[in-house]
C-alpha cells in the first residue's frame, strides 16, 4: 500500500470510530424489540427445529440396554446380558411409567412395538431373576430379531433423522440405508405438493382477478378510485376468520351460492362446494386478493401515463402499447404481490380446516393434527421444518427481488 492509500484507510477507520456512538445509540433503541423477538419468536422456532431431530426416549428409558448393546455384533440375536439389561431398564420404566413413552417412540419405526414393550414391562415386573432371554423370546419371538435390536441401538443417539425423513416420505432401513416409503404410508410429499399446488393456483387466480382491478384503480377518477380502494382494503382489515365464516355459509349445499346456481338453472341439482378443493381455492383467493392487488397498484401508479400516449402517437396499436410498454413496467409489482400471496398461502390453516375436505388439508393442518390428536411432536416439528424451509426460501427470494422495506400496509 502507498502512503496515500494507508491514509485513506486510516481516515476511513477514524470516521467509522467517530460514528460508532451514533450507531450504538440507534441500535440500542431497536435492541429491546430484537431481544424480545429472539426470546418470544426465534427461540420457539429454534425449539421446534430441535424437536424435529430430538430423540430422548430410548436414551432415557434404556440406558443399561444401550450400554450392553455396545458389544453386540449387529447381526445375530444378542446374548443374555442384553436381555438382563433390558429387564432392569423396563423394571425402572414400569415404576416411572415411562414404558409407554418408549413404546410409542419405538412403535414409529417397528409396528406393534408399543404393545410389545408394555407387555414385556408387565412381564419383567413379576420376574425376580434371570435368565431372561428365553422368557423374552417366549413372550414375543421378535425380541430375537436382530432388526429390532439394530433399531433400538440406532435410537441410542441423542439425535434422530427419523422425523425429517418421515416428513419427506423417506425411511431408514434397519441396516441404516435410506429408502423411499412405499404405498399408503407415503403421504407427506403428496401433502407438500398439494400445498404448493393450491398456493400456486390461488396466486394465479389473484393475479388474473387482481391485475385489472389494480389497473382500473389507477385510471378511475379520484372519488371513484377512493371507493374502490375502500372495497379492497376493508376485506383486508376484516378478520380472516370472519371471511372464512362467510365462505362456510355461502358454500353450504343449501346455501346462497347453490340457491343462485339453481335459480339461474346453471345446475340441475345442488353442487357440493363446502369441504371441497374448489371451495377452498375460492375462499383463499378471496382472502388473498388484496395482498396481490396492493403492490401491483402501487407500481402501476408510478408509471407515467404519457408513456402509453407516446407509444400510441408513434403508431403502436393499443394491444402492443399495453403489452410492450405498460405490462413490463408493472412486473415488479406483479412479482411482489404474487410472492407475498404465495408465501402467505403456503401457511394457510384456518380456511382449509373449515372449508376444505380431508383431501384438501395443507401441511399446516397436518402439523396441527400431529400435535393435538396423535401427540407426535417430533413428526409435527419435522413437517414444520419442511414448511419453514420452503417458506423462508421464497421469503429470501422476496427480499432479493423486492426488499423488506417495501412491505407497506394499505
Amino acid at each position: 500500500m502507498t502512503v496515500a492509500e494507508i491514509d485513506r484507510v486510516n481516515i476511513f477507520m477514524a470516521v467509522r470510530r467517530a460514528e460508532r456512538p451514533a450507531r450504538r445509540a440507534a441500535l440500542s433503541l431497536a435492541l429491546p424489540l430484537i431481544v424480545f423477538l429472539v426470546v418470544a419468536f426465534v427461540a420457539p422456532i429454534l425449539y421446534l427445529l430441535v424437536t424435529a431431530v430430538g430423540n430422548p426416549e430410548t436414551r432415557e428409558v434404556l440406558p443399561r440396554t444401550l450400554e450392553a448393546l455396545q458389544n453386540w455384533d449387529g447381526a445375530s440375536t444378542p446374548d443374555e446380558p442384553v436381555y438382563a439389561a433390558l429387564a432392569a431398564d423396563l423394571k425402572v420404566a414400569k415404576d416411572n411409567s415411562t414404558a409407554a413413552l418408549l413404546g410409542k417412540r419405538l412403535n414409529y419405526e417397528i409396528s406393534g412395538m408399543r404393545s410389545r414393550v408394555l407387555a414385556t414391562a408387565r412381564m419383567v415386573e413379576k420376574l425376580d431373576t434371570g435368565p431372561y432371554k428365553e422368557k423374552f423370546l417366549a413372550l414375543n419371538q421378535d425380541w430375537g430379531s436382530p432388526e429390532t435390536w439394530a433399531i433400538i441401538k440406532r435410537n441410542g443417539g441423542s439425535l434422530t433423522p427419523y422425523y425429517m425423513l418421515t416428513a419427506l416420505d423417506l425411511k431408514q432401513a434397519p441396516n441404516g440405508s435410506v429408502e423411499r416409503v412405499q404405498g399408503d404410508q407415503a403421504i407427506f410429499l403428496d401433502v407438500l405438493g398439494r400445498t404448493l399446488f393450491v398456493a400456486g393456483l390461488v396466486t394465479l387466480f389473484t393475479l388474473i382477478l387482481g391485475y385489472p382491478v389494480a389497473y382500473v384503480l389507477t385510471i378511475a377518477p379520484k372519488a371513484i378510485a377512493g371507493i374502490m380502494m375502500l372495497m379492497v382494503l376493508l376485506p383486508l382489515w376484516t378478520s380472516l376468520l370472519v371471511r372464512t365464516t362467510a365462505w362456510v355459509v355461502l358454500l353450504q349445499s343449501d346455501g346462497i351460492i347453490n340457491d343462485v346456481l339453481m335459480a339461474l338453472h346453471l345446475t340441475g341439482e345442488r353442487v357440493q362446494l363446502i369441504f371441497t378443493r374448489v371451495g377452498t381455492v375460492i375462499a383463499m383467493t378471496h382472502i388473498q386478493l388484496p395482498f396481490t392487488i396492493l403492490p401491483i397498484y402501487s407500481v402501476m401508479r408510478s408509471i407515467p401515463t404519457t408513456q402509453l400516449r407516446a407509444a400510441r402517437s408513434l403508431g403502436a396499436p393499443p394491444s402492443s402499447a399495453f403489452w410492450r410498454i405498460y405490462a413490463p413496467q408493472t412486473l415488479p409489482g406483479v412479482v411482489a404481490g404474487c410472492l407475498m400471496t404465495f408465501i402467505l398461502s403456503l401457511g394457510y390453516y384456518i380456511t382449509p380446516a373449515l372449508v376444505g375436505g380431508p383431501r384438501d388439508q395443507m401441511v399446516s393442518n397436518f402439523i396441527s393434527t400431529y400435535i393435538n390428536r396423535d401427540l407426535n411432536w417430533g413428526l409435527a416439528a419435522g413437517l414444520g421444518v419442511v414448511l419453514l424451509v420452503v417458506t423462508l426460501a421464497i421469503y429470501l427470494l422476496f427480499l432479493r427481488l423486492v426488499g423488506a422495506d417495501k412491505i407497506k400496509l394499505g
Binding site: E19, A22, R23, A26, L27, L29, A30, P32, L33, I34, F36, A40, F41, V42, A43, P44, I45, L48, L209, G210, P212, V216, M228, M231, V232, L234, P235, W237, T238, S239, L240, L241, V242, T244, T245, A246, V249, L250, Q252, I256, L289, P318, G347, Y349, I350, A353, S364, I367, S368, I371, A381, G384, L388, L392, Y395, A404, D405, K408, L409, G410
Partner: protein, 269 residues
C-alpha cells in the same frame, strides 16, 4: 370510459370490459363480508336469503351466554396487553431503524418483519412447545407474548413510514435548545409521529383480537378468546349465534378501519 380522446372504438369496448370485470371482482371482494349481516338478524336458523323475518334472537343468545362473554373479555384483555407491549417495543425499534446510522438495516428489518412471513402454525406450535417448558401454555402471559411477536412488524412498518416524512431537525432543535432527551421525545417527536404510532397500535390490537391459530394452541377453556370460540363452533356445527359473533367482529373491524382512515387522511393534509 375513462379514456383519452384518441381511443379507437375497439379500445373503448375493451376498456368497458376491463372496468366491468374489475367492478365484478370488487363486488366479489366485498359481498361475502356483508352476507353474514342479514343472516345474523334472521329469525330462522338457516343460512338462506332473503331473510323471511328479522329478529335479535341470535344476539340475545350471544350476549346471554357466559361462554361468549368470557371469550370477549379474554380477547379484549389479551389484545390491550399486546397493543401496549407491541406499540412500545415497535415504536422504539422504528425510531432506531430510521436513524441514518443504524447498522445492518436490511438484515435487522428482515428479522423484524419475519413474524408476518413465518406460517402461523409454525409460530403456534413452536410457542406451544417452547413456552410449555416454562409453564406458559394455557396462560394469558404466553398468549400475549406470542401475539406481541406477531403484532410488532405492523407497528415497526407504520411508525417507520411516518418517520420517513418526519423532520428530524425538530428533535435536534429541541435538544439544542436544552430540552432533555425525554422531553424532546415526548413533547416534540412523539406528537409529530403520533398518527403513525396510533395506526400501529390499531394494527396490533386487530392482530391480537382476530388471531385464531396461536390462541387455539396457547389457551385452555379459561383463556379461550372470541375467535377460538368461533372456530370451535364452526367446526362443531355452524349456528346462527356464530353469525352474530362474526357480525360484531366485522363491525369492530369497520370501526378500527375508519379510525385508521381518519388518521391517514390527517397525516396527508
Amino acid at each position: 370510459m375513462w379514456l383519452p380522446s384518441y381511443a379507437t372504438p375497439s379500445e373503448r369496448i375493451m376498456r368497458t370490459l376491463v372496468v366491468a370485470f374489475a367492478v365484478s371482482v370488487l363486488l366479489f371482494l366485498i359481498a361475502p363480508l356483508f352476507i353474514i349481516v342479514p343472516l345474523s338478524f334472521s329469525k330462522d336458523p338457516f343460512f338462506t336469503l332473503p331473510v323471511r323475518e328479522y329478529s335479535l334472537r341470535w344476539y340475545a343468545d350471544f350476549f346471554g351466554n357466559a361462554r361468549w362473554m368470557n371469550a370477549i373479555a379474554n380477547s379484549a384483555v389479551a389484545a390491550v396487553m399486546t397493543t401496549i407491549l407491541a406499540t412500545t417495543l415497535g415504536t422504539l425499534a422504528a425510531l432506531g431503524i430510521s436513524r441514518p446510522d443504524f447498522p445492518a438495516r436490511r438484515l435487522i428489518m428482515a428479522l423484524l418483519i419475519s413474524p408476518m412471513i413465518v406460517p402461523i402454525v409454525i409460530v403456534a406450535v413452536g410457542s406451544y412447545l417452547f413456552f410449555g417448558q416454562f409453564g406458559l401454555t394455557n396462560t394469558r402471559t404466553g398468549l400475549v407474548l406470542a401475539h406481541t411477536a406477531l403484532a410488532t412488524p405492523f407497528v415497526v412498518i407504520t411508525v417507520t413510514a411516518t418517520l420517513s416524512t418526519y423532520e428530524t431537525n425538530l428533535t435536534r432543535a429541541a435538544l439544542s435548545l436544552g430540552a432533555p432527551p425525554s422531553a424532546a421525545f415526548f413533547r416534540v417527536t412523539l406528537p409529530n409521529i403520533l398518527p403513525g404510532v396510533i395506526s400501529g397500535a390499531i394494527f396490533a390490537f386487530a392482530t391480537s383480537f382476530d388471531e385464531v391459530v396461536v390462541a387455539l394452541f396457547m389457551t385452555a377453556a379459561e383463556q379461550r378468546t372470541l375467535p377460538v370460540q368461533m372456530f370451535s363452533g364452526i367446526r362443531d356445527q355452524i349456528n346462527p349465534t356464530i353469525m352474530a359473533a362474526a357480525t360484531l367482529l366485522l363491525a369492530l373491524s369497520i370501526i378500527l378501519f375508519a379510525m385508521l382512515a381518519l388518521l391517514t387522511r390527517r397525516r396527508v393534509k
